[in-house]
Symmetry: C2
Subunit: 206 residues, 2 copies
């Protein structure tokens, strides 16, 4: 008995192929033909499951942001000290980036370009991530363990170094650059410890 010609997982095959390809080469750098080839799917099927290239892209970004938002919200609402929550926020961010390497890469590319492919719906998801951070910050300020800072400046100080390091690792991945002193290998444990320390000192009340 022959198996059904239907492939119920066509959509997810397209989805995963798009996620990795977009992260690697950006929105403009990936053609729909590329995605079809990676997913082992006919190109017309992509247009059957998604309205167009942009809708597919937004689906990928939105899905990632939902995961990250849920993860950091859980940390913000857990029952430890604000300082510990901050440490865990940083740690979780780096660990998520290890599990889904395309997530920080894709987001970094997008925001560096001025986020031309994101709509307000996507920004609402981003806001949840920032909101979790701001919640931790406010809790610490109320408790008197954090000083008063503009939340976005504090967020910038934490996320900026993490994203910059993602970019550094990506640049180092190109053959022939490994020996450049800029691209020394920095273990993620060191990165996490350093950002945690810098964040804690930044927020110390004096």
């Amino acid at each position: 008995m022959k198996a059904s010609l239907k492939r119920p997982d066509t959509r997810s095959a397209v989805f995963e192929a798009a996620a990795t390809a977009f992260a690697e080469h950006g929105f403009d750098g990936v053609s729909v033909d590329d995605i079809a080839q990676i997913a082992q799917v006919n190109k017309a099927m992509i247009y059957y499951h998604f309205a167009d290239k942009l809708a597919l892209y937004r689906a990928v970004v939105g899905d990632m942001l939902d995961s990250v938002g849920a993860a950091v919200t859980e940390i913000a609402e857990s029952s430890t000290s604000p300082t510990d929550k901050l440490d865990r926020f940083i740690d979780r961010f780096v660990r998520l980036a290890e599990t889904r390497p395309w997530f920080p890469t894709l987001m970094l590319r997008e925001i560096s370009a001025g986020a031309p492919h994101l709509d307000l719906e996507t920004f609402a998801k981003i806001r949840i991530v920032f909101g979790a951070f701001a919640q931790i910050l406010a809790e610490g300020q109320t408790a008197g363990v954090f000083r008063s800072v503009q939340p976005m400046l504090a967020y910038t100080t934490v996320i900026g170094p993490l994203l910059f390091n993602v970019a550094r690792e990506r640049m180092a991945a190109v053959p022939g650059r490994r020996n450049l002193p800029m691209f020394v290998d920095i273990p993620h444990a060191d990165l996490i410890a350093h950002v945690q320390l810098a964040a804690r000192r930044m927020l110390e009340p004096r």
Copy 2:
């Protein structure tokens, strides 16, 4: 008497048009036709002055890096305290970004993409910028006013937030996003003061 048909400034017109356009839309997002139109120059003239699109791009990036490298090297070699040099490094970086808005934007885009358009010659210029920072750091460590840190981690902590904020400002520039809480206006003076404070605290020996 008719003026000469020659336009000795054709090359620089192309150069400036390319700089702003590449920063705004990235390498792939700008066509040679676009540059020709902005510069009010015939497209074939671009290929007369530059080998190809990539060579033009690298010329733009290289020129910017030369300027920044010279500026920060001057600071590193000046005769003030390491702490003051660090403050001035941060201040100068933001001020240069104001004078030539396309510089940080373009660099951020490029490194976010994994720097696929940069060659080793360009990395040598980048290294000069990082080298100036590392020199300030080492001087402070020798003097005992800075703690021991991996230079690239320290650099990341300073540059990361600055570049992240550039991206934030660019995203906020799109109509309809201004009212989003993520995109509150942060005066550059506040940004500078905040990063200076965070950097100083990060490097405090304890």
